[in-house]
């Protein structure tokens, strides 16, 4: 008899550890023997902690369950799958999950994330096994054909990046995984590392084989302590069975992988700042060129990819590039693990092919606001993404379509706000955040963010007329066009989009701001 309770940072924040202990206690008290498995979260976060029972190969879910409800769960006969107010049936038949197209997250929640046997049984290592039979050029070709684009935010074609590093001649090359998932409203990297860590390891080994790199680093943010523990354990297991090391699965090829912990700096999610930090220095942004693909870590050719990008690779190698490229729309191929959060009834992880509308995500998946008040705006693509009004919710999730309305896909986070939000305050917060996180290398970001904060304070206190708005727009224009990296270059997005769609929150009328906004 198997009982599953997620060991996922969010599920634990909702009491999963306490529920797991209570289940063990109650089972012991009743003299029952059961096999308690700590699985990953399925990402249906409004149902966490989601307890599952496996009987005759079938899973029955119950959630959300509190520590206090555990005794009642036993009394109701949950081990036999019996009725209970929190009974959900087969979790994979819950429409929220059933309607998704899970490729990267296909195993998530099904197994013990630290069991390599379970990983293999559920299709793990198929991508690596195939990659070991291919030449580096063939692997790069496969990834290029899949149309995979960087899931960290920039959306750069992964195959082209890999090709650049493959062609760079050097005695040493590196694969660096950007797991500095700092965007508010995003948690898909965390879920992969906690819930399917071997997938990331497999993806990084394949990347190494593809470009000729034999060493890699995962740069993980310090705010994810559970991910750190799980990944460190996964690394040890992978080394112990020869998945990592000098003879990958008996192929004679080698790849070494290390875990490196950040120290709380948002800018280190920017790839060049990340590399500086990974070298043990201040996370100062480097000017580009040279590209990290040619001169990256310790000046050696380096592939820097986000967790989800690397975790997509084993799927592409296992299923073939065509299967991946068939999904999605236009130049946005495959699936995106969208993260719904903020004021929504059903926040969670929704992996779907590109092309779905924002409306569908917010209402059919998200269920509308949790507060029951009108949904006023969403912020898409992290703290540097714009605020979009409901009139743009029919737009589809697609790199190019979102760009047309000044939106971004970013790392796939969507944060919903009800009508109690004030966009002037959010704009002020964006500037304040940038001022606190700026690395200080370039002036537009370092000084601009502080001036922007002061300007917004004056605007919001009503002490300034429309000329302050003109100044704000000019300042944003400079930051967008003259900053060294995306931190200063995109902080204006939430500011300008707020001003454009919700001028009244700044004390202005549409007529006052429209002429100003035409130039940006």
């Amino acid at each position: 008899m198997k009982v599953y309770v997620p060991r996922d940072y969010s599920a634990c924040a909702m009491g999963a550890d306490e529920v797991a202990r209570a289940i063990e206690r109650e089972a012991a008290r009743r003299g029952l023997s059961l096999d308690l498995v700590r699985n990953g979260s399925r990402g249906l976060y409004w149902l966490e902690p989601l307890v599952e029972v496996e009987r005759n190969g079938e899973r029955i879910g119950y959630g959300p369950i509190t520590e206090e409800e555990v005794e009642g769960l036993f009394s109701a006969g949950f081990l036999e799958g019996k009725e209970h107010p929190a009974r959900l049936g087969d979790p994979e038949e819950i429409p929220y999950l059933r309607r998704q197209k899970r490729l990267v997250f296909r195993r998530m929640g099904r197994t013990d994330p630290l069991s390599l046997d379970a990983y293999r049984q559920q299709g793990g290592l198929a991508g690596l096994t195939r990659a070991l039979t291919l030449s580096p050029q063939q692997i790069v070709e496969e990834v290029t054909k899949s149309g995979l684009r960087g899931r960290g935010g920039a959306g750069f074609p992964t195959g082209i990046k890999w090709k650049t590093t493959l062609q760079a001649a050097a005695d040493r090359k590196y694969i660096v995984c950007n797991a500095d998932e700092g965007d508010s409203g995003t948690f898909s990297d965390r879920m992969v590392i906690e819930g399917d860590p071997f997938l990331l390891i497999e993806g990084m080994i394949i990347a190494g084989l593809a470009v000729g790199a034999t060493e890699g680093y995962v740069y993980l943010r310090s705010e994810y302590p559970l991910a750190r523990r799980v990944f460190a354990e996964a690394l040890e297991k992978a080394r112990a069975v020869g998945m990592l090391g000098d003879d990958i699965l008996g192929s004679g090829k080698s790849f070494a992988l290390n875990l490196y912990i950040g120290a709380g700096a948002y800018v280190c999610g920017e790839e060049t700042a990340l590399l500086e930090s990974l070298e043990g220095k201040r996370g100062m942004v480097r000017p580009r060129p040279p590209l990290p693909a040619i001169r990256g870590l310790w000046q050696k050719p380096t592939v820097v990819n986000n967790v989800i990008t690397l975790a997509s690779v084993p799927v592409i190698l296992a299923d073939g590039a065509e299967a991946f490229a068939q999904l999605g729309v236009g130049r946005s191929k495959g699936t995106l693990p969208v993260q719904l959060s903020g004021n929504l009834k059903r926040p969670g992880l929704v992996e779907v092919p590109f092309g779905i509308t924002l409306e569908e995500l917010l209402f059919e998946y998200g269920g509308g606001t949790a507060s029951g008040r009108p949904l006023k705006t969403i912020q898409i693509g992290g703290p540097l993404g714009p605020f979009l009004p409901p009139s743009l919710f029919p737009v589809t999730l697609d790199y190019e379509e979102l760009t047309k309305v000044r939106g971004i896909v970013g790392h796939g986070g969507i944060v919903a706000f009800d009508d109690t939000v004030n966009l002037g305050r959010m704009a002020r917060y964006a500037m304040e955040y940038c001022a606190g996180e700026s690395c200080g290398k370039c002036t537009p970001c370092r000084i601009g963010s502080t001036r922007g904060m002061e300007l917004l304070d004056q605007i919001l206190s009503g002490k300034k007329g429309p000329e302050a708005a003109e100044l704000l727009v000019d300042l944003c224009d400079v930051m967008v066009n003259a900053s060294l990296c995306g931190l200063g270059g995109m902080t204006p997005f939430p500011v300008l989009s707020g001003l454009r769609f919700f001028p009244e929150d700044f004390g202005y009328s549409k007529e006052e701001v429209e002429p100003l906004l035409q130039k940006v």
């Binding site: 976060y45 700092g182 409203g185 912990i261 709380g264 043990g280 201040r282 959010m426 917060y429």
Partner: protein, 159 residues
């Protein structure tokens, strides 16, 4: 994590020896020092600089770049509150306001009785279950002003 004075030099030497061998060992060394002492004491810096063959200015520059590293001892309890957007959308402002008001301190400060240090965090990755508060490293989701006050009271931070 326990706050302690750097009384035993050999202990610091041990930490530094482990990490100074690594080309990128400075940040891991600061993590290890903070884990041991609860913060990175200023008096460590000359030895850190020597171990890594860097100037004290370089070492200080790295230390102060990262928010995670504390330069002073923290209180007996550390309360970290998420200030980022997804938690704001779920009403984190009222939770944070209650903490500040009841403890009488702002972010980055410690109560006069050294009981609680309040720190800001910009995202725990618990965005689907916010507002998020961590107390002594344990994360709690769907926090409310009432519940956080109960928790502060429960840990003896409020009289």
């Amino acid at each position: 994590m326990e706050n302690g004075k750097v009384e035993r030099k050999d202990e610091l030497e041990g930490i530094l020896q482990t990490f100074a061998r690594q080309a990128n060992g400075l940040i891991p060394a600061f993590h290890a020092i903070q884990n041991r002492y609860g913060y990175v004491p200023k008096e460590c810096l000359p030895e850190v600089a020597r171990a890594f063959n860097l100037s004290q200015a370089d070492v200080y520059g790295v230390l102060t770049f990262y928010h995670e590293f504390r330069h002073e001892p923290a209180g007996r309890h550390v309360v970290s509150a998420c200030r980022a957007e997804a938690c704001q959308a779920n009403g984190s402002a009222t939770v944070i306001e209650r903490i500040r008001e009841r403890l009488g301190i702002d972010f980055g400060e410690t109560t006069p009785d050294d009981e609680v240090t309040l720190l800001p965090t910009y995202c725990f990755g618990n965005c689907a279950c916010g507002p998020s508060i961590a107390i002594d490293g344990k994360l709690y989701g769907r926090m409310s002003a009432e519940r956080v006050e109960r928790m502060l009271r429960g840990m003896g931070a409020l009289e």
